[in-house]
Point group: C2
Chain length 359, copies 2
């Protein structure tokens, strides 16, 4: 635990180190939320609201556009990697350094140093992003205070190697069940084998040709995969039930309804006895054609790329707010014991956002 209070005059790398040294594993974010609320409340240009351990701070300058900068306060469990450590190559090591306290540090720096941005700003700091979707603090705020989360464009400062990751793919999980009739396997003809009845399902999956559509210049990659299969009661029994769990990852040119209809159609002639929707989170368009997003892309540079995994970007998408991921750090290092971030990237991130919001 740092001995000093949260000091927004620190530079972004030092602020990141302070945040890493202040543990905030999912479910234990309150002290950090308190510190963030206190530090932001001292800034006269911001209105600060709180719901649970979620802090929302806003400028109210009457600008033509409003931009949301969002980041989660929580981390996965600490794995012997706190306190932070800065090595001689300028690499800052520690739990949350990459996912996403470096991003939160940039948010805090912008909040502190850009009192008169060219676009109105909404800063969201939320809890429980690393755990179940129904605990997610951003989702809770949207539900309880929808008016707090308004804007023309959102940047989620999750690590993305300082590249713009646009939109996000949807994910639909369904259970496909086939039924049969139990019998002793010595008298197989007296029963009906539910595992054999799943053969057409696996054949469809094996033959499936996924689309890789280009949307607003980004190439998305769909995929339809079995992520589980289960059947059989005993070693000498013809099984009367088999379940294939299928995950469809789909590009943001499909609505949730389209995605579901597509999966139903793929398996339409497979004689499935039960089709159960297990989980569904819609996709989000990259929204890069929106003027605010375009201006952002021009200001920060680089080549936007698609986001394959599902992130809170989609939550903004579902609110009709175009959103991108953009933050320091390599996303592949998230959740790892050797999680780390190049501190020069944190400063770069800050200065690019600063330039965009003050030009």
């Amino acid at each position: 635990m740092p001995e000093t209070p949260l000091d927004l005059t620190l530079d972004a790398p030092a602020l990141t180190a302070w945040l890493v040294d202040f543990p905030s594993v999912s479910g234990t974010e309150k002290p950090l939320a308190d510190a963030v609320e206190q530090a932001l409340s001292a800034l006269p240009h911001l209105t600060v609201d709180r719901y649970g351990n979620n802090i929302v701070a806003r400028t109210n300058l009457g600008r033509a556009e409003r931009v949301i900068l969002a980041g989660h306060l929580d981390t996965v469990p600490i794995a012997d990697n706190v306190p932070s450590r800065l090595d001689e190559d300028g690499m800052l090591w520690g739990c949350g350094s990459c996912d996403m306290k470096s991003g939160v540090a940039v948010q805090l720096r912008i909040a502190a140093t850009v009192p008169e941005p060219n676009r109105d700003l909404t800063f969201v700091f939320y809890d429980n992003e690393e755990v179940a979707a129904d605990l997610n603090g951003l989702g809770k705020v949207v539900e309880a205070h929808p008016d707090w989360i308004k804007g023309d464009f959102a940047v989620v400062l999750e690590s993305s190697d300082l590249e713009i990751e646009g939109g996000c793919q949807g994910t639909l999980r369904v259970l496909l069940k086939t039924k049969g009739e139990r019998a002793h396997s010595a008298r197989g003809w007296m029963g009906s084998n539910a595992i054999h009845s799943a053969a057409p399902i696996l054949a469809k999956l094996a033959a499936y040709e996924p689309r890789w559509p280009v949307i607003e210049g980004l190439e998305y990659r769909e995929g339809l995969n079995a992520v589980g299969i289960e059947g059989g009661e005993a070693k000498n029994v013809i099984p009367d039930s088999c379940t294939v769990t299928v995950n469809f990852r789909y590009a943001p040119d499909r609505s949730e309804e389209d995605a579901l209809a597509h999966v139903r159609e793929v398996f339409a002639d497979c004689d499935i006895d039960e089709f159960i929707i297990d989980d569904h989170s819609g996709a989000a368009m990259p929204g890069l054609s929106h003027p605010a997003a375009k201006a952002f892309a021009e200001a920060v540079g680089g080549t936007p790329r698609p986001k394959f995994g599902w992130t809170d970007v989609a939550r903004f998408g579902s609110l009709g707010i175009p959103a991108v991921n953009y933050g320091p750090g390599n996303p592949l290092l998230a959740h790892k014991r050797d999680e780390r971030v190049q501190i020069s990237l944190i400063s770069d991130c800050e200065s690019r956002l600063h330039a965009w919001l003050t030009s």
Copy 2:
């Protein structure tokens, strides 16, 4: 527990009731084996041997043929169905009444009442038939004293509705494993899906046309069935392993080697990564063309039928001794709480065997 000792002058139904009232769940057969040994040892025309809780009694009259009458002493666990109860329809209820204390009663009656059979007789009473194959008392005796189990023909007195059930089908269980490469399901193209790779296996199973060959006049029914399938690590991971458990039940015109070769051939072009033999018990020919078996079939009458499940008949088969199941009681009632046997069938069984062995 009966208050009287084992009395071989009782008629077969009364003897069955006595045996049912004398609990002998697998693993606790010793007191009953003691009683059987003591009763048989009092008969001067028999030589009695014992190995563990297995009793073997033989005539030694120098006849041209020797016939084995075999039965197990143990039962499945009692389910509130002991002591026995005889109802007004002549049905005897109780654990083991059908499987197979009625058969054991017939064995004991023949042992006691046919001192000079037309064929030499070997009576085998064994333990642990209802549990794991490697505990089976008949197997133990064969291993330790192969000379005790010699003969030209064997009758296992398991319930068969007093119909001759000839031979027995073999059973082979194999595990068919496919491998893949794990990846996050949001980036499915970076992995390889082991469940999809199992599609050709299920297709083969679904399309398989089993043989129903007629052997020595009996129609056997082969079957190739998945009895289990398992794959998938997590809901968002492309699985790197899938296992299909397949059970092949095969007719006695196939040797164990043939059966295995056939299964390998069925799945030859399925790109299986591992083919594991999980369990294998060979088939037994009905042996009904053997003179001793023919004479038996003529004496007891009825139309022989094939045995689909695996029984100790196959153990005799593997010793080169043709064998059949033949006993009172409905085999579908075995192991049931409402297990029961029509007592007239017990007496019929005794008198038919008596006729065969004294004509």
